[in-house]
Amino acid sequence: MRFVLWLVCFVPLVSFAKQEELAFDDGSLNVSFDTKQPVTFVGKKSLNVAGQTAAPIMYPADTAGLFLVSILTHAALSGGVQSAKLTREQEEANKVLDPYSSYIANINEIFLAQCANSQSEPAIAHKIQLLFGDKRLENSRWQVHVVPVFAMTQNQSSFLIYNKLTFVDRSLTPKQKKKIKKVKKGHPNPSEKLVVIVSDPVLTNDNADFWLRENAKAFNESIKRLYVESFQMGVSRHFGSLQNSDTKQVTIKYLEDGLKKIERGYVISKTCQRTIFESLAGEIKSVPNLEFSNCSNT
């Protein structure tokens, strides 16, 4: 069974420039998921000119969807007229996922988690104890709760993952927990890592055909790759092995939904095709560069 899973989940791994020993005290990381809920897929609304996003649209309304709204929402989401408008807009944007609905139904968190475990860097994989829903706590210092949300751009060129990893240090005493100050508004929560990855854009005349041909092979591989990479990045960032390469804040320009998106942040790594950076809100983002299509695949 494990062998079958390994075969099914085989995807290229992300390799980081410097992989240092992760700081696990007792050698294990408990990973928990909310397996009662389906994995959330949303249709991402089209960008405005020069890269302003509108609020994402929730597919099934659940825990993951709520957090996605809370991190991406416009200021004026609440309130009668605006809420009614958003519901109609939600329905409209979600239609982009209609061709994929049968494949989305097969994506669950247990499957994704097993892919992450089998395909993660050895430094991470041998330390992961997967807890499937019953939240048994093994003898380990750290526990991480993973909530992934996937989105598709309206032009169907890319999938995105918003993967929220919440790290709990079980070694803290109640007194130590009380001393932890509340996180101020506008400051990132150090125990949470939100990893956002925009997949390499598909540049064909029929993007839906690209994703769905051969029994949705490209779709499945992209979803698994996004999950594994975001998981690895979140864990590496939390334990200090994914550092900013520069302290200077810069403007990052990247592709999303066929348009240029502008964001300020701190570069972690940059290649011809892709930039990984820390956003001003403390998210870790991996995005395709504007000049992505001019790069040769190496």
Binding site: A50, Q52, H74, G186, I262
Partner: protein, 227 residues
């Protein structure tokens, strides 16, 4: 009845004379500008990047608005417009690539020193710009004049009238000196709201992003006529 008609016509006439005609946008057609013409380029320095509170017009109102937004102002005044600062080099390179000679003009001649002229049909230019031909030897005058760069928040006296917005306003035009008419007229007026919660001191990440998105949009608009 005749008297009323006369009054109505009179009022219309006076009103028409009192309101200045507004210059409509003019698209640039480089095909109409001979390559042997020299283009004088003036790009103003980047003004101080800060916050404005229009509507807080009384002295106490201005004080209250400044105090209420002091954290935001502190953050806004750290913004850099490094890309806009390269506008002169960027436009010069674009025009040279198109085959034009560019003459950099360091300062504009004061408007009051230019002779008055009657505007031609379709133009609102009421000054004679031939002094630029005399002094700099140019046939076209291209002006990029940055007016405001920063964040604006509308006020009604003491009360904020909405969330702050990033703003960049720039005069952007080119005058054909021989015809004393616009070859190009497209002022830049960007106002951009924060995407998400704006009120997140001390770094205001959403407002910061809105500002740099505005800067990128301004750069794209400055490049567009010469692409």
């Amino acid at each position: 009845m005749k008297y009323l008609s006369f009054v109505a016509v009179f009022v219309l006439f006076v009103t028409g004379c009192a309101s200045a005609p507004k210059q409509s946008n003019v698209d640039l057609n480089l095909g109409l500008i001979p390559k042997e013409q020299k283009i004088g380029l003036y790009v103003s320095p980047i003004p101080k990047i800060t916050t404005w509170f229009p509507g807080a017009n009384c002295l106490l109102c201005m004080g209250a608005a400044s105090l209420a937004n002091s954290s935001l102002t502190k953050q806004v005044e750290t913004f850099q417009a490094d890309e806009l600062a390269k506008a002169q080099a960027m436009i010069t390179q674009q025009l040279k690539t198109k085959g034009y000679e560019v003459v950099i003009i360091d300062s504009l001649i004061a408007e009051k020193k230019l002779a008055k002229v009657k505007p031609i049909v379709g133009s609102t230019i009421a000054k004679n710009y031939s002094a630029y031909k005399t002094q700099h030897g140019v046939d076209q005058l291209l002006v990029v004049n940055f007016s405001t760069i920063g964040v604006v928040r509308q006020y009604a006296s003491y009360i904020p009238n909405g969330a702050p917005q990033a703003t960049i306003t720039t005069q952007f035009y080119m005058i054909d000196i021989a015809r004393n008419a616009y070859s190009f007229f497209a002022p830049i007026n960007i106002v951009k709201s924060a995407d998400g919660e704006w009120d997140a001191p001390p770094t205001f990440p959403a407002m910061t992003n809105a500002f740099y998105q505005s800067e990128e949009e301004a750069i794209d608009l400055l490049k567009k006529p010469f692409n």
